[in-house]
Amino acid sequence: MKKVVFIALALILVIGIMPFTACGGAEEEYKIGAVLGITGFNSALGEPEKQTLEMLEEAINDAGGINGKNVKIIIYDTETDSTTCFTATKRLIEQDNVLAIIGASSSGVTMAILDTVTDAEVPLVSLAASDQIIKPVEERYWIFKTPQTNSMVVARVYDYLSDQGISEVALITASDGFGALGLEELKDVASTWGMTIVADESFDPDDTDMTTQLAVIKGKNPEAVICWGTNKGSAVIADNMKDLAMEMPLVMSHGIANRDFIDLAGEAANGVIFPAGKLLVTEQLPDDDPQKDVLLAYKADFEYLYGEGNVDTFGGHAWDAFTLITDAIQSLVDEGKEVDRAGIRDKLESAELVGISGIFNMSSTDHLGLTPDCLVLVEIVDGEWTLAEE
């Protein structure tokens, strides 16, 4: 009987703990929110994104902020769970009163907040790959993104393969959201390049062994294997292909564009080819590449803080998102306009930026603004990323 009283009391307490927001009044700083998958399935993405944002926040404030006001980054972990991402986004919008939001790290989780930011009229710059996030653009008025889309990445892979005279490929994709979206695109556009998919296998990133799927593939005799997944599972695949003495080219996705993959797969990583932003091969770019200076600077800054060889393209997506938003604020300030959510959105839509993921030219019909040539093909040679010859 007392129980109910206690529950009521406990609830009152709990509500009391919730700090009530101070609404109204001029904000002292420019607040930007971020929802990142720091734990859960996408932790390999969320961690460098978080590190990049924290680094940039400090840098911009050390340099005097924007218009004398500091920029404040508020980061919440989505646990790669759509429910948590949903409430975290509400919190950024309603309680923290942010001007814009960066995130989420992966497509599925981003989908869960599209309606929320649209209803609240807050600009969102997603760090996820899927095209669906920004299309159709009329409905995605408030949504932008910085990573290259799956269709660009897949196009790059098929371009490369058909240049090599390869037309029969086997697919092995992760059963998570990243792999599922890749698979969808790989199947949809295969015929455009005259590709025949001779095998279509999937793996659970937590599986201990994938030789069975690879044996199925081997039996179909493809000319190349395309693997779509992130570090752990992809490394097992590279390893297992060596075990089974499968000699055909192994092409992977941009999901392995970080140092951990090489550390895990070791020897087996050699020879793996994958499309990625230019960041991984910055030093090997020709000097006239317009992105080179930006890339060198980001790489140097990041590795100074977080260790040699740790820079990866996921952090780069966050760099682009942060810079796009702060540039938008800066130009609103420069033009003497009020800095608000709608203003930032309008500026984002006309943004031009030489970034990490590529050269952005946003427009009202393209909320990404990248062209496929922002991707290069990287081959792992002797445990190092090398710009692949095409």
């Binding site: 296998e201 999937s202 069975t212 044996a215 752990k232 490394a235």
Partner: protein, 291 residues
């Protein structure tokens, strides 16, 4: 269907099955002595792999690091038993399930905070290319896995059936009060079973880390699979869990090879379901006898 493929599926199935059997062995040891399903068993496996990696990183010679890792994880098992299992006394199976689930969450989250979220690899026990027979391939580490699993099974079997400690463990399992009368302390036996299960789990984690890497969250999936292996084996005998592990590994591998790799886990679980239901009468009788 090419023969070499079938052989390859079977080889893979046996390798993976051995891994499941090692994980399942821990479930079986604890269950047969205490009647508890230890949902933290997968975390012992994870701790084995991660601790070994850290110790090697400290510069210890590899064999020393591996043994020390087993010892440390065994200690974790002992501490877990003393702090979480013993205070619960003779609680219902629901209570004990919840306690071990809580332990698993706790250990996993602390491991995530301490080691971070990246997967790490241990060096294989021996180098060299994979061996080929009948057109299929088997890598040296797989032979290590299968070999160590077999050795572990035999050792645990002998320990349980041929030594005084083993007899005491069995006696405590069969009848606590009678065992107490002849001077066997059931709480001590519970402690020993947790230590033993933690040790076998740690060995499992160390053996598989060169194949499938170690990460703070590997215990969830491995724990589930080991649990299924143990359940298929009937949760009592060493050889039951060995056969259960192999059965599960082969079922998964053959399902992935001949049916669909997307549904292989579902197929393996349906298999478990069938085993449970077919044997439900006997299982229920066993539970009642244990209760």
């Amino acid at each position: 269907m090419a023969t070499w493929q079938l052989v390859q599926y079977v080889v893979t199935g046996i390798t993976v099955g051995s891994i499941y059997a090692i994980v399942g062995l821990g479930f079986t040891i604890i269950y047969s002595v205490t009647g508890i399903i230890n949902f933290a068993q997968g975390e012992f496996v994870m701790l084995g792999g991660m601790t070994a990696f850290s110790l090697i990183g400290l510069g210890l010679p590899i064999p020393v690091a591996l043994m020390l890792a087993v010892v440390l994880v065994t200690l974790v098992g002992v501490v877990f038993n003393l702090t979480a299992i013993r205070p619960a006394g003779r609680a219902s199976s629901i209570t004990l399930i919840i306690i071990t689930i809580g332990g698993a969450l706790f250990i996993r989250a602390v491991a995530g905070l301490y080691w971070g979220r990246d997967a790490v690899a241990l060096p294989p026990f021996s180098s060299g290319a994979s061996l080929s027979f009948l057109g299929a391939y088997i890598r040296p580490q797989s032979l290590w896995v299968i070999g160590i699993t077999l050795v572990l099974m035999v050792v645990v079997y002998l320990l349980l059936n041929r030594t005084l400690v083993g007899k005491a463990l069995k006696a405590a399992a069969i009848n606590r009060r009678a065992a107490a009368l002849v001077g066997i302390d059931a709480r001590m036996m519970s402690l020993v079973s947790f230590a033993l299960a933690a040790a076998t789990g740690a060995i499992g984690g160390i053996v598989i880390a060169p194949i499938s890497y170690a990460s703070y969250d590997m215990g969830v999936m491995l724990g589930l699979k080991g649990f299924v292996a143990a359940a298929m084996g009937g949760l009592t005998g060493v050889w039951g869990v060995f056969l259960g592990g192999l059965g599960l590994g082969l079922a998964e591998s053959l399902a992935a090879g001949y049916i669909s790799s997307s549904y292989k886990d579902a197929i393996a679980l349906i298999f478990l379901f069938a085993v449970l239901l077919i044997r439900s009468r006997r299982l229920v009788a066993g539970e009642e006898a244990a209760a």
